[in-house]
Symmetry: C2
Subunit: 294 residues, 2 copies
Amino acid sequence: MREFDLLKIVEEFFGNEEVEVPAGKHDAAYLRIGKKLIVVSCDTVNEKSDFPPFMLPEEMGHMAVAVTLSDLAACGAKPLYFLSSISMKTADDEFFRKLLIGMRGLASRYGVKVVGGDIDFSSTLTIVGFAVGEAERIVTRAGAKPGENVYVTNPTGKAELCLEMLKRGLKRDELPYAESLYTPEPRINEGMRIAEYAGAMTDISDSLAISAHLIARSSGVRIVFDSLPLQHLEGHTENPLEVALYGGGDFELLFTAKNSGDGIKIGRVERGEGVYVKVNSELEEVEFRGYSHF
Amino acid sequence: MREFDLLKIVEEFFGNEEVEVPAGKHDAAYLRIGKKLIVVSCDTVNEKSDFPPFMLPEEMGHMAVAVTLSDLAACGAKPLYFLSSISMKTADDEFFRKLLIGMRGLASRYGVKVVGGDIDFSSTLTIVGFAVGEAERIVTRAGAKPGENVYVTNPTGKAELCLEMLKRGLKRDELPYAESLYTPEPRINEGMRIAEYAGAMTDISDSLAISAHLIARSSGVRIVFDSLPLQHLEGHTENPLEVALYGGGDFELLFTAKNSGDGIKIGRVERGEGVYVKVNSELEEVEFRGYSHF
């Protein structure tokens, strides 16, 4: 995970800026502007790492907005504004229009205003999204407490499963969860509700395993998955547990709480460190890995 | 200017969002957050289009911050927060550290907090900067009025001249204005002062010619350059006027006002349309062109 090595350097440089929650500590930064608690984040997608085969340009635009709004969802923030930097390979009007249709579709669904952007040219189609939102309270990866349960908004691994099936030669219309891969939904409404009571929360950017490790480390606790849902993957792949734990492309929220009416209970928070999963009544260690670039 | 064709499409899609000043109307968007007038902008640099030969990694980091803060300067905004998306070619720690040193150096000089970012990998080193600032009043390209004068914070064309000289085989230490090319300064302090009284203002992202055309179009006026400074270019290039008008890489502010103690008076605002320059007592039309990628 090369990205995480570089993120450590970012934290070394900028981890102590005097804001509510600075760089590297969470999915997004929390700031105060006047009396408002404001959340800002940026996220990047590019065609080589993030766009699966057969993806339509509208879906690329959707994806760029989804990854950025998902960071805000992890703060329980209501997204307000979106900007983007689009690095195009050529000045293809028709393609560009379709990208914007996808961006507008998702942004408008959540009342997000697209207020600016920048266009550049590059050999790799790359879209960087930047979002500004407003939160009611600060929720980060650091608030998990022993005795809480661990929840996820929906079963994980659907996007990774589809990607695996494409690699095995299946066609897009044969995929069981194509929408999870091509038009993932940021969990904005869920995040706003969950932030009212969650101990810790993060979105699943790379894999369930990595998100759980980030919560465990930041909170100084151990996480044990004792009831990970795998039924949705069974029959489609040889190793459902691998896909659910280490697959990329999920846009779900992972959070801890005493009790929750949102999402699915998949484990518990304990004293200690690390992340474990119960397999046939035995605890196995969960590795810090996930999301391999295509 | 392929970028401007695509920007028209952006305005068609998002030019009517209900904010103070939306996408495409100015260098940055103006929003209200609580009682504050907030300015947000993003800008992109990549090694193929924006980094001149012999540029050091620290200077690349500086440049990424400078281009984004320059958009805020064009609003007379005080920059508060900066985020970036860095697309690296490889996970080169040493190079990455130097980039961040350059970013931190410029950001800290203006008290800008670096609060977040995102790291990605791509075949082209690309840095997208996002900045959030606070403005006292709204100044855009649209407020120029006949009878005002036209000013620029400093003579233009220095960066372009240096680039031309590098192409002619000169070395970096032989350049007369190397700092304009390698470590351009966003005119933050000047912008904050000028915004108090300017009719229209913009930064020079592409060329003096393009910035003047944007003000002329947005304001519905004609701009005449009658006293463009060229002495700083003379003796270094065959066509100083070409370099001053159409060269890229300037980070100056172009603005209109009745009178100004900031910057250099280079022309006047008249009724009509278009941009003209006085050459040997004759008016010549200034074209809409500039900044050719390297």
